[in-house]
């Protein structure tokens, strides 16, 4: 029972981080029909910027001596920073290719990804060494349920992720911007004809998706404080699993990305806990293969004909 609850909690936490990242993949795909390979790097930078911002603010200790609002400050700062970065990436790299064949955009996205990873390792930027995220959130156990000690940091990771997903739901289904995003994702030309400034809506999609990835980066660094260097393969693997989450849920579908993320997190951690901890990645990709075989449109996706 203890093991089960512990795994459930960790799986939900990791899954909600995958979900936050998956949302960015799925929103960009929904509007531009391409996979933004640089998205996992925005997540990586979210983690790194969290470390850098904490350092600048002088919150470097592991002793939990920092103000209670430190986490709030850092998460907002990195969301703004990565949101801006997402804006710049779209503006500089993808918008000039708006009418180019999709393969050109895909290759450019890989280029942007490699650029961010490798330039991030320059000695005067983030460097080639892993770093340790300072402890900004209380790590002591709050209470115990059936022998599982619940830490504040675990609750915060899950709570903030779900709050951000609820906020996104509201943006997409409750605001004029969200209405515009849904219209643009269905038919760009007609959306423009209706007076929607399509380029601005696409920019905002990148800003929102990147800010969510940044939040995931911060939460990841908070839960797993060892931050690997920018070009370390774990980042790509994490991004890839988030992408798998988007595909499993039905790419282009927001709720699908949320559900897919949670599912991937739970499958991965339950597999690790009850089968073998060495095959974590295998469970994820097996799930992907099963979904692609039996429900290629994804769990919540609709079977659609590819638009040309």
């Amino acid at each position: 029972m203890t093991k089960f609850l512990q795994t459930l909690m960790d799986g939900t936490a990791v899954g909600s981080l995958y979900a936050l990242i998956a949302l960015g993949y799925t929103m960009v795909y929904g509007i531009l029909r391409f996979i933004n390979f640089a998205h996992s790097d925005v997540f990586m930078l979210g983690a790194w910027f969290s470390y850098e911002v904490a350092k600048i603010m002088g919150w470097t200790g592991q002793d939990q001596s920092h103000p209670v609002w430190a986490s709030a400050f850092v998460i907002v700062a990195v969301m703004v920073a990565c949101g801006t970065l997402g804006f710049v990436i779209e503006r500089g790299a993808y918008r000039p290719l708006r009418s180019a064949p999709r393969i050109n955009v895909l290759i450019t996205a890989i280029g942007v990804s490699l650029f961010l990873e490798n330039s991030g390792q320059l000695p005067f930027l983030l460097g080639t060494q892993p770093q340790r995220m300072p402890t900004l959130m209380p790590e002591h156990a709050l209470f115990a349920v059936a022998g599982v000690s619940v830490r504040a940091v675990d609750l915060l990771v899950i709570g903030i992720s779900f709050a951000l997903m609820a906020l996104l739901e509201w943006i997409i289904y409750g605001t004029k911007l969200g209405l515009a995003m849904r219209a643009v994702s269905y038919d760009t030309k007609v959306a423009a004809l209706m007076g929607i400034p399509v380029d601005r809506v696409i920019s905002m999609t990148f800003v929102v998706g990147s800010a969510l990835a940044a939040a995931a980066g911060f939460l990841y660094a908070t839960k797993y404080p060892g931050i690997n260097q920018p070009a370390h393969p774990t980042w790509v693997l994490l991004g890839l699993k988030a992408f798998v989450a988007a595909v499993v849920g039905g790419i282009g579908n927001l709720r699908g990305a949320m559900a897919g993320g949670l599912m991937i997190g739970l499958v991965e951690l339950f597999g690790a806990a009850y089968l073998s901890p060495h095959l974590r990645d295998v469970y994820v990709f097996t799930l992907l293969i099963l979904v692609l075989l039996f429900r290629p449109e994804g769990l919540l996706g609709k079977a659609t004909i590819e638009k040309v």
Binding site: K189, A191, I196
Partner: protein
């Protein structure tokens, strides 16, 4: 109100409009008729900013608008209900109408126009929470027209509103075109159903391979031998 002067449009190497001259006056219904591929839709697309003309001018209420972005043109008072309707199947009926009002921020005015549109199309009100993709063809056409009206345009561009609809529905659609006009909106109507179009319009233009070949009062055109032979089936 609207004047096209020596308008040329190219699609790559295809010279689709070759010097179109056309005028719409305040309060009129003007129809543009012609056979498949003559350049009717292209003309509307150039007006609404979907296409940039390679030569010539488009003036709306005295201001040059050729080459402006579509969202700017909508803001100036021209709404375009495109060929094939183009409703957003993933949005509800009401959300489609809200998209039509995208450039506006006067909440009270939008609510008032929403009511007006539901008055014109009671069927849309019954289905306001339904996804637009589940509507019938006729209902989708009504939605496309209603959505264009929510921009509160002074000039409404309609591209083949009767396409693919049953005669009964076509009748309704044309009656609504009259109603919209009677409420004060000027209309430029593109149609293949020349018979019906000339019946509702004040004036008409005939386009052939990118050039206007005839322009006259709708009644005169409907009675002319050339039009009857080519477009009215005798």
């Amino acid at each position: 109100m609207l004047r096209l002067n020596d308008l040329h449009v190219h699609y790559g190497a295809v010279h689709a409009l070759q010097g179109v001259e056309l005028e719409v006056n305040q309060g009129e219904i003007v129809t543009l008729i012609g056979s498949n591929g003559a350049g009717k839709s292209t003309t509307l697309r150039a007006i609404s900013g979907m296409l940039r003309p390679s030569r010539g001018t488009i003036d709306f209420e005295g201001k040059p608008i050729a080459g402006l972005a579509p969202h700017v043109v909508v803001g100036l008072g021209i709404a375009h209900s495109p060929e094939g309707r183009g409703v957003f199947a993933n949005l509800t009926v009401e959300e489609n109408l809200q998209v039509g009002a995208y450039t506006r921020s006067d909440k009270a005015g939008i609510a008032e126009d929403m009511k007006k549109v539901y008055g014109l199309f009671p069927r849309l009100e019954e289905r306001r929470r339904q996804l637009a993709g589940t509507l019938s063809g006729g209902e989708q056409q009504m939605l496309a027209m209603g959505r264009a009206l929510l921009a509160r345009p002074r000039l409404l561009l309609l591209d083949e509103p009767s396409l693919g609809l049953a005669p009964q529905i076509v009748k309704v659609i044309f009656q609504i075109i009259r109603d919209i006009n009677a409420l004060g909106t000027t209309i430029l109507l593109v149609e293949q159903n020349a018979h019906k179009a000339l019946e509702v319009a004040n004036r008409g233009y005939v386009i052939e391979v990118g050039k206007i070949v005839l322009a006259d009062d709708a009644k005169v055109l409907a009675a002319s031998d050339e039009v009857r032979k080519a477009y009215l089936g005798g």
